[in-house]
Each structure stands twice: as C-alpha cells, then as structure tokens.
C-alpha cells in the first residue's frame, strides 16, 4: 500500500479544518496584496502581468514531481482539477463544509478547497488517484467496494482519503473514533454506517497484512 508520510499522531476530529481555514485567510490576504500592487480592481487574472499574478510551485502529486504556475487566488483543489485534471477530489461546497475535496498533504487529511495552491510548494500531495498501486487497490478502496460504502459515489474520494488518514493515525480505531474521524465529511445519500463498516474492515485487513 501507499505509505503516506505521517506528521504526528493525534486525536482526529475535524482534522486539518482549522489548519486549512488559516491557510485560506492567509491566501486571501496575499491575493489582495498582489492585486493592490497592480492597482486594479477585479479582473486579476486578465490584466495583471504574468510575473505578478503567477507563481511557479514545485510539489509532488501522487509521487510525481511537478512544476505548475498558479495564481495566488487559486486553491489546491482548483489546480488539481482544472490544471492537472485530477478530478477525484470534488468541489461540493468550496468552503470547507463537506470534505468532498479531501486530499493528503504530507500525510495529513486537508480540505483542498481551502488550501491555497501556493502553499503546496515543496509538499507531497496524495489524491484518491494515487492510492492504488497499479491495479492493486488500497485496502480502504477495496473495503469500500466490498461493504458498499457509497451510493452515488461523489463524496467517496473524500471519505476514502479521510479514512486513510484516520487509519494512518489510529490503525485500530474504535467505532467512536471512526465516527469522529469521518465527521468532517458529508454523505448526502446517507451511507455513513456502511462507510464505518468499510473502515473497520480495512483496519482489520491492514493490520493482518
């Protein structure tokens, strides 16, 4: 399986939500400053010179080193989806309410819709596309299929990334820890209890292997 780099063990609740939110505020401030320098109101992407409006970032996505030009206002989610065409992470609310955009950044589950792309510079990002090794699915992915841990499947990539982060932190979570660990993700089809089953099953399997 993919071993995401783990930062530190801790109680998992809404995980990196606050971290992501802080990043969002910082990102907004940065965007304002650059736009202010150009003296323009709005139209940032259109009228600013590329030197001011673009920043080149180097980061690893699913193990691959990439260099991408990003705008300060762009979120990591936008860069993943629109520029890299990695559409596993979904934009469901765009404001850190639902977890559909969850990815791993240096092993931590993060809402990529709130994470400024510029801050991904130098980081390791894993998306749901990067979990399987060739045709061999990650045990969490396999368990979601076996336990039917989804219905429409749109929130599933986010749930899978949160589950992987949870199991990296707590390899044998209690039912309450599973509930809490997934509390930052919303499933509107309402399949939470099937998702718990999938996570518990993956946990067992991963400890056996």
């Amino acid at each position: 399986m993919e071993k995401a780099t783990k930062k530190k063990s801790r109680t998992v609740t809404r995980r990196a939500f606050l971290q992501g939110l802080g990043g969002g505020a910082a990102g907004a401030a940065l965007a304002t400053r650059i736009r202010g320098q150009a003296g323009g109101v709005g139209q940032a992407g259109v009228t600013l010179s590329p030197a001011l409006s673009q920043k080149s970032i180097n980061f690893k996505v699913n193990g691959k080193s990439l260099s991408v030009d990003v705008e300060p206002r762009e979120s990591l989610l936008e860069v993943l989806r629109e520029k890299l065409k990695l559409t596993g992470a979904k934009k469901t609310c765009g404001r850190g309410e639902c977890g559909g955009c969850t990815v791993l950044i240096d092993g931590q589950a993060v809402y990529s819709c709130l994470f400024p792309a510029v801050r991904a510079d130098g980081k390791q990002v894993i998306t749901v596309e990067g979990l399987a090794e060739g045709d061999r699915l990650h045990p969490v992915q396999q368990a979601f299929i076996e336990k039917d841990g989804y219905q429409c499947g749109y929130c599933t990539p986010g749930f899978i990334m949160s589950s992987v982060a949870l199991l990296n932190d707590i390899p044998a979570p209690s039912p309450e820890q599973i509930k809490a660990g997934l509390s930052g993700n919303l499933c509107r089809c309402g399949n939470y209890v099937k998702i718990y089953e999938a996570v518990a099953s993956a946990s067992q399997k991963m400890r056996k292997d």
């Binding site: 309410e97 429409c152 929130c155 499933c187």
Partner: protein, 749 residues
C-alpha cells in the same frame, strides 16, 4: 427573449409518473423463477473500482478543449420589476465570449435567473456577472405561507395565493363521524427542506453543426433531451443527452433545467463548448426543495380501535411552484370506509418546490403516523395493535382492488421483534430521569411497479462478449450492477462478463430515475431481452448437441444437456458461431389488470431525549420493507440505510430559513443548513420480507427508492413522543422545540 418559457416543475406530475398507468395487461406473465443463483445475493458494484479510484466521471469532471465556463446572474430580490439591464460592460470584458439576457419584467423569488455569461474561466465569468448592471423596482414580497394566506397579502402570481391542489372523498364522512365512539383531531407541520445533492447541478453543452450534445447531471436524460428540443426549437433527433455518473439528485434533477438551456444557447453563440456548474448557494435557492405542509387530521373510531372516518386538510407551500399532496398514505393504508381530503397550495416569493424523494409521502406519513400514535394513546390501545386492527389487503382503505402482494403484516412482526417493542413506555412519557428513552414506529406505502414499455437490449458479440444496454440512469442505486446480474443470471455468466451501457439518449428508452421506477422498469426489460438471447442460444446448442432445446441448460459459461452435462458447448464458442453480432430487444410488459401494485414497510426507532438540553439522539432504527424480490441485498441495504439517515436528518435538523423582511434565504450553505453527519447515526438494521410478487413482472421485484425514506422521520418523532409524553407535531424537532414542548407539558397546556 423568452419569457416564462419553462413551466415550473411540480411534485404532482411526478406523483402521476410514480403511480404509473392503470394496469392494462390481460393475463399474468409466465411464472416468476424462484431458484436464482445471482439475483438476490449481495453483489458488489461492478463499477466500484472506478468510483474508489476517482476515475468515475461526473459532469463536473468532464472537460473539452476550448471549453468555456458559464455563470448566471440571479435576482437578489424576492419580488421586483426589472426596469433596465445593461450587459455592455460584461460583453467587453476580455475573456468573455457570450452574454445572454434571460429575464425581463417581474422576478418572483430570490435566485431567479436574470442573465448568463460564458468566459474562458470561472473567475472571468464571475467578474463579468459583477459588470452587469440591473435596475430593479423592488416590490412587496411574502415568504411565509401564513402571511401569504392573509387578506391583502402581496400576490405571488396573477392569481390568488391559495389554490386548490387536490381533493378526494369516499363513503360518507359525516356518517363515519356519527358512527364513531371517539373522535380525535391534531395538526402536524413539516418544514421546507433542500435536496442538496453533493454534486451541484451541472451541464456541458457542445454543438457540432446543428446537433447538440449535452452532458448533464440528471436523473432523466430523455426529459432533458425533450425539454431542450422544445426550448431551443429543434427536433429531438438533434439533441443527445449523456449522463455517466451523477452525485446525488433526490428529485432535484428529475426535470430539465433553465441553466442547461442557457449553456446550450451560450455555446451556440460562442461557437465553443460551455460548462455550467451551479454553486451551493444556487442549489439552495433555485433548483427545488421539499414543500412544507400543515396537515390537520381528524379521525373517528369505535372504542375497540375500528376506524370509521378519516379527514385530512393540507395547506402546502412550494414557493412559486405548487406544493405536495400528502394524503395518499391516509387514503390507502388503513381500512376505513369514510374518507375526505382537501388539499390547498399556498404560493410565496421563494424558490419553487420539486419532487423530493417520496414527495408528499414523507410529510403525509409524518402526519398520519403521528396521528395514529396519538389516537392510539387516546383510545388506550397499543399503537401497533391499533394499526393491525385497521389492516387491509385491498387498496383505497379496503374499498378498492386487492394488492398483488402485501407483506406489511410481516414487516410489523419482524420489526417489532427486532426493536423489542415490549420495551416501550406503555403510556407515552412514562419514563423517568433527565434522559428519557422511547420507541416509536411508522408504516409505509408507496407505488413502485415500474413503467410498462421500458426498453433494454442484450447484444452478443462474436468474440463472446455481452452488452446490456438501456437509456436509464444509475443515480447511486446500483443500476449497472443489477443489469449485469440479471443478464448474467439468465445467460449463465458472471456479472463481470457483462458490459453495461446506460445514460445516453441514443440507447433504448427508459423512464426517469425517480419514484422507485428504475429497478422494476429496467430490470424486467433486461430479463426479457436476456431470455430471448438465451432461447436463441439454446436452439443453436440443441442442434449442435443433438438434444431438444428444452433440455439445454445455460450455466457456468456453458450450454449443456441437463441429462448428460458432459455433452456441452462453451458459451463463448457458441456465440462465436453467430453469423453476426446479434441484438435481442427486451421490453417491460404491461401490468396485469385487476390488482393494486404497491410497496410496503415499517420502521421502528428508539431514541433518547435529554430533557435538560432538548437534544434527541436516535439509538437504534429498524427498517423492514416488502418490495417484492430483492435484486441485490448489498445495494438494497444501502438504499435503506440512506433512507433512514435522510429521515433522521429531516426529523432533527433540516429547514430552509428565509428572512421575512428581506425575503432572502439565510442558510444557503452546508454550514448553516444542517444535515445529519456521521456523528448522528444510530445502529441501523435494514431488513426485507423477500417475497417475489407473483404477477408484477418477470422478476417479481418492486422499487425501493422511496420506501425507506417514507416512515423514517415519523418513527423518530413517534419515539420522541413515547419518551417524553408530548408529540412535537412539527419537524425538524430542534432542541428549542423539545424544551418548549416539555415546558408546555409541565404547565399543563
């Protein structure tokens, strides 16, 4: 410019579809096979690997070269007259490729479309919207149904704000009440809730000369195709609609949308593909909601619990559109000779209602089953015994035709046993302490017979590969998987051997995916096509193996003589001997006349109410459904789990809140519009009375989409009543309402 070109979607049209046509068929189908090997087992989804690796393509995930992004400017006012609109600044913004006015004259709700732009990226489109200047003359608005009904309220439409929606009667209601020894009356209220599918509505429009292809996040590709053809004034043959994967709909994606038409027109003007993805706020405002209801039920009964009369009056509100009829459960589910129903819809200046998973039945069942629970207490009867006392095996409350199959009694037996019904408070509110527990239940009826005429093909390729094809939609219920399972079962293959093709209007016609229609429509059509293919192959094998076709068995990827299994030919080899690839057309046959076809179920909930905080925790929820044969127990369980989760969410959290003075929604996001999360889940027990209906179709299956959604909120509300001795009669049951009810009870009011 088009003016009000798009009729409002209404729950009523959808109910007509869900109910289906009057059964037309003259005779029963051939007997339903009972010894299936694959059907009825827990089969993991055949496309699961695409979903869990992020490779399943939803409309949001599709890109084209030179694709533009569209955004729609929407009314900030609940009621206003557009006096001028200036699009020139937006048009001249670099990167903007097309701008369209969409509205003139009066706007009637916050979020109504005004104009649309298409630009090279989303940010530029957003900028362009800000450059559109619109002058409004703001008009008086009304957003609450109570105020809309008042004398002198601002008119939402040209006609009155209150309009007749539905009426029904049978027997003699006055005589029914005269015969009653006890009469009882209560009023129940439900709030407006928002569908909030996780994938917001989205469309991509792409023209190739005069032909339009649209990728749409929809539950109804053929409705979108026909709607677009009408709106654009082009033949249906020039429109193709594709839906690969869709991130939830729950009724909000059943009809074609204004924004899809806008995307098509912008794409035409710009000469480039156009993608539109609604925001969460737009999803909250203008693509539907579950209408509110205020339902008053009056019942009459003998002291032994025999119902003599039931009357229902419903004031329902679906904003600028019609509300929901909530009377069907009351009309059908209990034996009662005298019934009267009057339903009125109230218009307000808010976004229009749409079908929402089990429209009307969720609200009507909350009211009816709350009433049954309270009436039982008034009569001093066990609420389950009261329901059994009025059980019926024919529809229209025992005055109509018999049900083809009805397993509700078995649902009661199993559910009561699983929840431990004996543990309930014998009188509501008997429990003591700060945290009080209670048990409650709810009964369910819905249609779910499917649509005769649904088409599916089985295509055999000469390399031995097999396709199952139908223009249906998989909206998360596992359609692809049961199509593959049915084809594999019939042809002696495995589900993985079948390539399923759905979600494209170039495929054979299938109905909307809503109203519990899909499985009992598409399943039998696939079965019919596969049976024809199997017959053809058996004839071929009979000649090769020199035995009568009747003795040929299709199993284990072979065809063999049942008396001499070693006399066999491999499926792939036989198919390779076809002279060409061969298509077998299947059709879902008519329903035999003379019977009623319905689905049934019962839910039992256990809750704990914290009397100090007013917080309700659902501890356990048992659901037992009778929906004919279960095609796939694994995905069927998920549908039930989802129905319960959504029902708990409705019972405890969900409510669209509109500021009365501004006429604007104050919770148009997932942070302030509360839905159930993983922290709110009880232990869930999904069970089935797995009875194949003997005549409904060639599989004996009924639909399962709506049933588990229908009694879940009612069961939770009734459990709260059993716990604290006072029925809130209003959902969502937020802590403030619980505390107020407890205070009122103590004060003796």
């Amino acid at each position: 410019m088009r003016k009000d070109a798009y009729p409002e979607d209404t729950g009523l049209d959808y109910l007509e579809m869900a109910k289906g046509k009057e059964p037309q068929g003259k005779e029963a189908q051939p007997p339903v096979q009972t010894d299936f090997k694959l059907i009825g087992r827990p089969t993991p989804r055949i496309d699961g690997h695409l979903v869990v690796t992020g490779r399943a393509k939803y409309t949001h995930d599709i890109f084209f070269k030179d694709m533009l992004y569209a955004k729609i400017l929407r009314s900030p006012h609940a009621s206003a007259e557009i006096t001028s609109i200036d699009l020139s600044a937006a048009r001249s913004l670099p990167g903007v490729k097309a701008v369209l006015p969409l509205k003139e004259g009066r706007v009637k709700y916050e979020g109504e479309q005004i104009a649309a732009v298409a630009a090279v990226d989303e940010n530029t489109a957003e900028e362009a919207l800000r450059l559109i200047s619109v002058e409004y003359k703001v008009l008086p608005h009304v957003v609450s149904p109570e105020k809309a009904m008042a004398e002198g309220a601002p008119r939402v439409h040209d006609s009155a704000n209150v309009e007749k929606l539905n009426e029904y009667s049978r027997g003699n209601i006055d005589q029914g009440f005269a015969e009653a020894e006890v009469t009882f009356e209560r009023t129940y209220r439900t709030a407006i809730e928002i569908h909030h599918p996780v994938e917001t509505h989205a469309s991509i429009a792409k023209w190739d000369e005069d032909a339009l292809t649209v990728w749409d996040s929809t539950q109804a590709i053929f409705s979108v195709r026909d709607g677009l053809a009408r709106a654009l004034g082009i033949p249906a043959t020039k429109v193709r609609v594709i839906k690969m994967y869709m991130g939830g709909g729950f009724g909000s994606k059943l009809s074609f949308n204004e924004h899809t038409v806008a995307a098509a027109r912008l794409a035409k003007e710009a000469g480039r593909p156009v993608k539109i993805m609604l925001s969460r706020k737009e999803n909250s405002l203008c693509v539907g909601n579950r209408p509110s209801t205020r339902i008053t039920i009056k019942g009459g009964a003998k002291k032994d619990g025999t119902l003599t009369a039931l009357s229902l009056k419903n004031y329902t509100c679906g904003g600028v559109a019609r509300g929901n009829s909530g009377s069907e459960p009351l009309i059908d589910i209990y034996k009662c000779p005298n019934v009267k129903v009057e339903e009125l819809t109230v218009y307000t200046n808010t976004g229009g209602g749409r079908a929402t998973r089990a429209p009307g039945h969720v609200q009507g069942t909350f009211a009816l089953e709350g009433f049954m629970e309270e009436f039982a207490a008034e009569l001093g009867l066990d609420p389950l015994e009261f329901r059994r006392k009025n059980y019926t095996t024919s529809n229209l409350g025992g005055t109509g035709i018999v049900y083809s199959s009805k397993g509700l009694d078995k649902c009661y037996d199993i559910g009561a046993q699983k929840i431990g019904w004996d543990r309930r408070n014998k009188r509501p509110g008997d429990g003591q302490g700060k945290k009080r527990r209670g048990l409650g239940m709810g009964s369910q009826i819905w249609w779910g017979a499917g649509v005769p005429g649904t088409l599916a093909d089985i295509k055999l390729h000469r390399d031995g590969s097999v396709e199952a094809v139908s223009g249906t939609q998989d909206i998360g219920c596992g359609t692809r998987t049961y199509m593959a399972t049915i084809a594999a079962e019939t042809l002696g293959l495995e589900p993985q051997d079948i390539t399923v093709k759905i979600g494209d209007t170039t495929y054979p016609w299938a109905p909307i995916s809503g109203g519990s229609l899909t499985a009992p429509s598409v399943g039998p059509a696939v079965r019919d096509a596969a049976l024809k293919a199997a017959d053809h192959l058996k004839d071929m094998a009979a000649k090769k193996l020199n035995v009568p076709a009747a003795d040929i068995v299709l199993a284990g990827k072979k065809l063999y003589d049942k008396n001499h299994p070693e006399n066999a030919i491999v499926f792939k080899d036989l198919v390779g001997q076809l002279s060409r690839e061969t298509v077998f057309h299947g059709e879902r046959a008519d329903l035999p006349a003379g019977f009623a076809y319905n689905t049934f179920g019962a839910h039992f909930a256990e809750v704990e109410v914290d009397t100090e905080t007013g917080r309700i925790s659902v501890l356990k929820h048992v659901a037992v459904h009778e929906v004919g044969r279960i095609l796939n127990t694994l995905t069927a369980e998920s549908q039930v789990v989802g129905g319960i989760t959504q029902g708990i969410s409705t019972a405890l959290f969900e409510e669209r809140v509109i500021d009365e003075s501004l006429g604007k929604m104050v919770n148009p996001n997932l942070q302030t519009y509360k839905i159930a999360t993983s922290m709110d889940m009880p232990e869930i027990v999904p069970l089935f009375v797995d009875l194949a209906d003997p005549r409904i179709n060639n599989l004996g299956n009924k639909g399962l989409g709506e049933p588990p959604r229908i009694p879940s909120s009612a069961a939770v509300a009734n459990a709260v009543y059993n716990a604290i001795g006072v029925h809130l009669r209003e959902i969502p049951m937020t802590p403030d309402k619980v505390l107020k009810a407890l205070r009122d009870k103590e004060a003796g009011s």
